[in-house]
Symmetry: C2
DNA sequence: CACACTTATTCAAATAGTTCAGTAGCCAGA
DNA sequence: TCTGGCTACTGAACTATTTGAATAAGTGTG
């Protein structure tokens, strides 16, 4: 149900095609509402049918024809109404990696280290992408200036949430690597006894 | 697919009934893999059918009969194998509230404040619950002692991730309230002009 | 010029997750 | 005694999400 509003919110940034939206949902919006291209195309169809967005066919040279979608007045209204309502569903995090971490005791510590290092690298990569988006939004201004003067602060604030999230992910990984190292040291140079 | 392993990981803590698991998935495990009671009962049935867990019927006085589930050797093995494999799916966060925040500009600031305050209270409540679980796990030891000496550190480390997450949520809310306050002040005592 | 990759979208099928309701006995408060 | 809530579970229907593939043209690399 919320994908609908996620799409409308994404279109606040301006007209976009399904393909462009799928890119947006892969970077910034993926932070709090991931969606595959298939989901987006279906949702765009539905929203257009309900008159919340309107489609414009744009033939291109050397590229397939695309359809650009933009918010209608009705779409803006429904989005604003949704955004003012109390939140129904609490945050849901689904993280396969943390299931593995929950079960880490009983797994070869080298395998665990590898997983944690991979996760750390991934978090740092995502953080770097977020930081680039941030620089683009700030466009030379300081954060303070931006938050005081900008027309829209929503996208910047949600981006900050994503930045904090990934930074913490990376830090958590570093903490785990330290803990694993200390436990190995404590267990003696022969390594831990328990692997089953 | 991962619900399977989340249930197996939850059973590492020892035998539990479907009902008890549904409580666990509502507090600590909800941190990274939420599941409704219905999902759990279905999954437990499947896992028992596959021989990864075994069921024991426990008749009770004054209470309905319950079925207690525990890991089999096969279940432990499959879980350990899963936990050693590279992570397939990145973290997926689904947060209706952040969609509302993305669209906050164009909504009555008083409504936004209310949402943010509600969210903050919710995060602090969850944080308090996590902290109680933490105290129980530590059982008088310091974190350093625990992480060095305990048999299993996985559940504690995932709990730490949850604590950081909720703490940051609360802090983010406070930041947003400050920003909103300063923007209102900057817009003048009459309040912001743009509401549509 | 073959190969892989990107833009741009659609279809079909499978899997996962949510919602609503129902059964059934017990306990506590008004 | 009625109401609501807790323990404990089950069933059916629904909605949402994921996966794989197909179409179709263009672009860059060796």
């Amino acid at each position: 149900m919320s994908l609908k509003y996620a799409v409308l919110a994404a279109l606040l940034e301006g007209e976009a095609s399904g393909y462009e939206l799928s890119k947006v949902f892969d970077v910034s919006l993926a932070n709090f509402w991931p969606a595959t291209p298939q989901q987006l195309y279906r949702e765009l169809e539905r929203l257009a049918g309900d008159g919340l967005i309107e489609a414009r066919t744009v033939p291109q040279e050397r590229r397939p024809t695309k359809r650009m979608f933009s918010l209608t007045a009705a779409g803006r209204e429904q989005l604003a109404a949704f955004a003012a309502e109390p939140t129904r569903r609490p945050t849901a995090v689904r993280d396969e990696f943390l299931i593995k971490m929950q079960a880490m005791d009983g797994v070869d510590p080298r395998a665990v280290r590898a997983l944690v290092e991979e996760r750390r690298a991934w978090a740092l990569g995502k953080l770097a992408r977020y930081e680039r988006v941030r620089e683009r939004l700030l466009d030379g201004r300081t954060e303070e200036e931006y938050l005081r003067d900008a027309d829209r602060v929503g996208p910047y604030l949600t981006l900050l949430a994503g930045i904090t999230f990934e930074r913490d992910n990376a830090r958590w990984c570093e903490r785990v690597l330290t803990v694993l190292g200390e436990r190995r040291a404590a267990a003696g140079p022969a390594g831990p006894a328990a692997l089953g």
